[in-house]
Symmetry: C2
């Protein structure tokens, strides 16, 4: 039978990235990974948590409760040392709620324009949560450390990828192939760590209660 | 003889505020408080410090070195709990280097729009530094704690005054008279704490070395 898993996101690039990672970690046979645009609409949880883990759990709980499906959600962002750890949980709306990725990353570059090279440390952080309809919860958090560049470079990825260069590499994550990025990224690591729990949850939901 | 003191700022509102506070604390008789627009131009220190105190000292040192006058500088800003202590030292350029007070405070309001009332704590912080031509340095830091409002209120003051409400008051600092604000403000407190040191420095510079 087909196993269905809900990824609680409307971001098509994030959905594609997570499908790719989870297909490798959970196994793609009979696995139907759907996004929020594929299920009946419900009142989504506002992302008001103070931490990435709070927000990932809020989103996954709401998704599981309203759909009856095992639900996975992540909350990811960029933490910049010279910005006191921000944009952090506000990464997606840093330049304002109506602005886009390009406005967000240009604002960060502008804010840290006078910050010298030895204080440009940053990290991508991802908290990934799994909540099953029976209330089982798992959350993992992973990070990728690096530095902010002076200018955007590369066209891959999304979000702050063009201005983030991981330690030990001369490229931004926007200059890497999807597979290269998945192998090292905060989101790749978090979802691979969550994959065994997802596989177990799908097994449980596949056989159903009492079987 | 006239005593001259340099306030290392080009912000006319800040200059007026500091003149008011220092005239009360140091005594206005024969006191000539000049700003950066009143002295020959020199290479000003970039505000690249990681703290308010660092930046105040950088600015006062450069001003004293290049003018031969006792120099006072402040670095002030808003620290917002939900923004990891930012805008902090980046308060003046939060929305970008070419933006103004209104753009800065609107960006902060937008960034914390979904932050609930019990996590909207903030503080105005001021570090004030005095550097004399003979190399004596003093720096003090004071703060005014409060909360962020949901919308701007009031037309007084400058910077983030319209969105900052001190604890124990129902008004923003932009709804207070200049005298009311001076009495409680971070900058009022810091400059009053610095005033005895300024008075002593002016006494020394008035009599001159060896007299």
């Amino acid at each position: 039978m087909t196993r269905r898993l809900l990824l609680a996101t409307r971001n098509p690039k994030k959905l594609a990235e997570l499908r790719r990672i989870l297909a490798a970690g959970v196994g793609s046979a009979d696995l139907d990974i759907v996004g929020l645009d594929d299920v009946p609409p419900y009142q989504e949880a506002p992302e008001t948590g103070a931490t990435f883990a709070d927000n990932a759990l809020l989103k996954a709980r709401a998704a599981a409760r309203h759909t009856g499906l095992p639900a996975v959600a992540d909350d990811s962002g960029l933490t910049v040392d010279a910005l006191g750890g921000m944009p952090g949980v506000l990464s997606a709306r840093w330049a304002g709620r109506s602005r886009d990725d390009d406005a967000n990353l240009r604002l960060v570059l502008d804010q840290v324009a006078d910050v010298p090279d030895d204080r440009r440390g940053a990290a991508f952080v991802c908290a990934a949560a799994l909540v099953t309809p029976d209330g089982t919860e798992q959350v993992v958090e992973e990070r990728l450390a690096g530095v902010l560049t002076r200018n955007p470079r590369g066209t891959g990825g999304f979000g702050y990828d063009p201005i983030f260069q991981p330690h030990g590499d001369t490229r931004t994550t926007a200059e890497m192939s999807p597979a290269e990025k998945d192998a090292i990224s905060h989101r790749g690591r978090a979802f691979r760590a969550l994959a065994p729990h997802i596989a177990a949850a799908l097994q449980d939901s596949g056989t159903g209660p009492g079987c």
